[in-house]
């Protein structure tokens, strides 16, 4: 017990190891127990969601919670680097102003109200069905048209390929919506 007491004393350890008191010998137990934030985490491989460079990212997470987002050193494009935006991806995913509830604004209202996700989905399906029925044109001048002119869509450059595929497939191929656009042109 005396020995335990002595060896936990930084000054003693310094004398015993002949060091200068600035290294491990001076660490408190708390310091010695420190580990990188992303120790003992799972890692998923991801790609930065900002610009078109496509830097590799490693997403560190533990038990369903994000711990850290770092560059992926294995990427042949980015070699582990991230610019300020990519380096802010952890905050992008976890900041307090991130929306987590569905909101609804009634016509002429001055405020939002929260509504249930499934309720909102049913309401949107209703709106789509009604607006489409109101203006759908099957034919024009004797030729097939199959166009729904009353509904439009904007967005895509920040979405996954699979998502853009499903949007175009459902909206155009299924519903007849032609007014579809996104940030891209050229």
């Amino acid at each position: 017990m005396i020995k335990d007491l002595l060896t936990s004393w930084p000054a003693f350890r310094q004398l015993a190891t002949g060091t200068d008191g600035t290294g491990r010998e001076a660490m408190s137990p708390a310091t010695r127990a420190l580990a990188p934030r992303h120790d003992a985490t799972d890692v998923s491989r991801s790609i930065c969601p900002y610009c078109g460079v496509g830097c590799g990212q490693l997403i560190f997470h533990r038990r369903g919670r994000l711990v850290s987002v770092e560059g992926d050193p294995a990427s042949p494009i980015s070699g582990g680097h991230l610019c300020p935006k990519g380096a802010a991806t952890f905050e992008l995913l976890t900041h307090a102003a991130r929306a987590t509830r569905v909101k609804y604004r009634a016509p002429h209202s001055r405020q939002w109200q929260e509504i249930a996700l499934e309720t909102a989905m049913d309401m949107v399906a209703d709106r789509v069905w009604e607006s489409r029925a109101r203006h759908f044109e099957d034919t024009r001048e004797g030729e097939t048209l199959m166009q729904c002119p009353s509904i439009a869509h904007l967005g895509g450059a920040t979405l996954d390929n699979e998502e853009n595929y499903l949007i175009k497939k459902l909206f155009a191929g299924g519903l007849g919506i032609v007014a579809i656009s996104n940030q891209a042109r050229i």
């Binding site: 905050e91 102003a97 949107v124 048209l145 895509g156 891209a184």
Partner: protein, 852 residues
Amino acid sequence: MPGLGTSFGRGGATTAQQDLVNADAILIMGSSMAENHPVGFRWVIKARERGATIIHVDPRFSRTSAMADLWVPLRAGSDIVFLGALVNHVLTNDLAFRDYIVPFTNAATIISEDFRDTEDLDGLFSGWDAENKQYSTESWAYEGSKPKASGESTEHDRGGHAKERGGSSMEMPETPPSDPTLQHPRSVYQILTRHFARYTPAMVEDVCGIPRDTFLQVADAYCRASGPDKTGTICYALGWTQHSTGVQTIRTAAILQLLLGNIGRPGGGILALRGHASIQGSTDIPTLYDVLPGYLAMPKHGADAGSLQSYIDKHRLPRGWWAHYDRYIVSLLKAWYGDAAQPHNDFGFGWMPRITGDHSHFGYWLDMADARTVEGLFVMGQNPAVGGANAGLERRALGNLKWLVVRDMVETETATFWLDSPEVARGELPPETVGTEVFFFPAAGQAEKEGCFTNTQRLLQWHQKAVDPPGDARSEAWFVYHLGRRLKERAARDTSPRNAGLRALTWDYGTRGPHHEPDMEQVLQEINGRSLADRSQLPGFHALASDGSTACGCWIYSGVYPSPGRNRANERDPHGPYGHGWGFSWPADRRILYNRASARPDGRPWSERKKLVWWDETMREWTGLDTPDFGRTKAPDYVPPPGSTGDEGLRGDAPFIMHPDGMGWIWVPDGLKDGPLPAHYEPLESPVANAVYRQQTNPAADPKRRSDNPYADSPGDPRYPCVLTTYRLTEHHTAGGMTRTLSHLAELQPESFCEISPELATTIDVRNGEQVELTTPRGSIVTRALVTGRIRPLVVQGKTIHQVGLPWHWGYRGLTTGPVANDLVAISEEPNVKIMEAKALVCRIDRWSPRS
């Protein structure tokens, strides 16, 4: 991306970022790459360390310029004069790489004798129809071309995204007439020479404000990087695209690169620097109005859509890979409509909607602004209340909708246009007068869903799902899948003809987890394509059939998921200089497009130093450092038997395999709405008259002039004497929803500002940091002035022109808020892709801060 698509065959960057390291010269223009693609810019620095010359041409001195050997300030909107003068420099000094351009490009091809150039018609090409404001393009065809048998040419055939994909009104002869000596007066080479003859260093000085000696310094430095041993790369971004002449600006660079023999070669090519994580993907698998996946054309009412066969006949080309248009469209229809799609019903072609006009962003937004037909709108991951041109009009138009659905990670300005927009704050739009029903759905971030992005070099990279999204946040895939499920249920009960496509739509993706998330691997497998007999994944687009036996959601992506369990977008085992084994590069994992051109016509590399792909005579196949962008076993000396179609119809020394002549197109005979060659037109708003032609602006561009989208008098409206250009910062991203909401980024760039020169500051009596008001015919904003020598006045046509630089990220929500720059920008449509002109307009600037 028709600039690159018409020139070379595919609408995408021709090279990879890593390949920049092989360049001997890099020209960065219409981009500040160090600031907006920072990690990609490492490759430019590596090139510089290996001795490459870096040239940055830009109105502003930025961190890109600081790392360049030469920075050249130019007047925003004068890029075609600069690039055209580089073309003229090559032609005048006989610097073209002749051994490349004669076999590999249409430089030698002879053009119709009906063609008249802008030199003959003072700024117009032959075929201009002033009443309908469009060109008939027959006179731009190769000599010996004949009208296509399948029907009349219409406005639809010319241009847009779908023009990389057929739709020609004229069919070129099987062997176009040509003069390999490049002497024939109607050869492309000679027409080009006459066309650009007045694009001289003196013209550059007059129009761009660049001293002629500086221009010659650039011309000498860049054009030296050419020939068997040297190559140069051009990098561009939105400083080139967001103009009424955007496509033609890119075309000028394409002509230059073809003349110098830089396409398809290591350290060459054109690197289009795209701005969003998957904006390349959102054009390839398009949420766009005029294209189907893989750049197939959306059928157009009254033009090509009478039957599936007439559509195919209209769009297919006789030779090259567009000959198999039937395989691509039938396989897409089978992917969408499954078993219901059969030969007897044209594979469901009749269930697909036809386009009838301009259904682009501005096309339908102006309909909304006039409260006409559009009553419901989905906005997913975009923020037009800040990011849309004439943002005030964009916001007000939202108030005319019956319903609006916004999906994003935060409540964006678009979602709250009725609550806290400037119009509401100023009392112009009381919320109680806005009848729009608004639904806001929280969206998942990229770490909370799986799927793939396609980056700026056509590379599909899968991102894995790490955690669930918080609360009720869901992915777009979840939303669209479950919305589709609900709508299909209704369609099952309502057998009206309009629901045939919806009933037939294949929508049985497996779902996972407590939230029933659709399986994105299944979606990617559908995109890749399957053989329907045994459900096996297809190895690539060469396995597609036109008889209904294959399904494929996007033919250019085929090969990304070639066998069970093998998701190549998710592969992470890179090897070689181009990272093969990491992700999947379309098409067919070719990293450098048109790389057959990295070998001589006989198949040997141009040089040891610049070898990339070459013919192995022993193995009788192409081999090398990249996947050959060519038939692997097609010999260099292959000559097609007459009447051959498809890839078999192209010679063994024809590298541009999407084109029916296999050539790189210096001259674009068909596919663009505003000319077979680029011509300089002034921006729609300009302080000066066009010094090159009498035609002031691009005749085919549409300014959408109306009372809520007014323009300055042009040229030289005294009320708006400065040139205004918008740009981006490193620390913020587009309309700000992903950055102005984050503490570190908001701290790094805490406030909106504009950049002005010390000379301009003196003129308007403004000190650094004081507030200024910027005014255009669309509106005005107040922001802080950053007075800096990094932006400077230029002398253009004898008068001093001041330029103002304005970052456009700010909006009224977030940790840092500010005025919306796009309130100043007009809605306008470049003729081919309908993009707005945000990079060159005019403004006035006045001190706003009072002085005591």
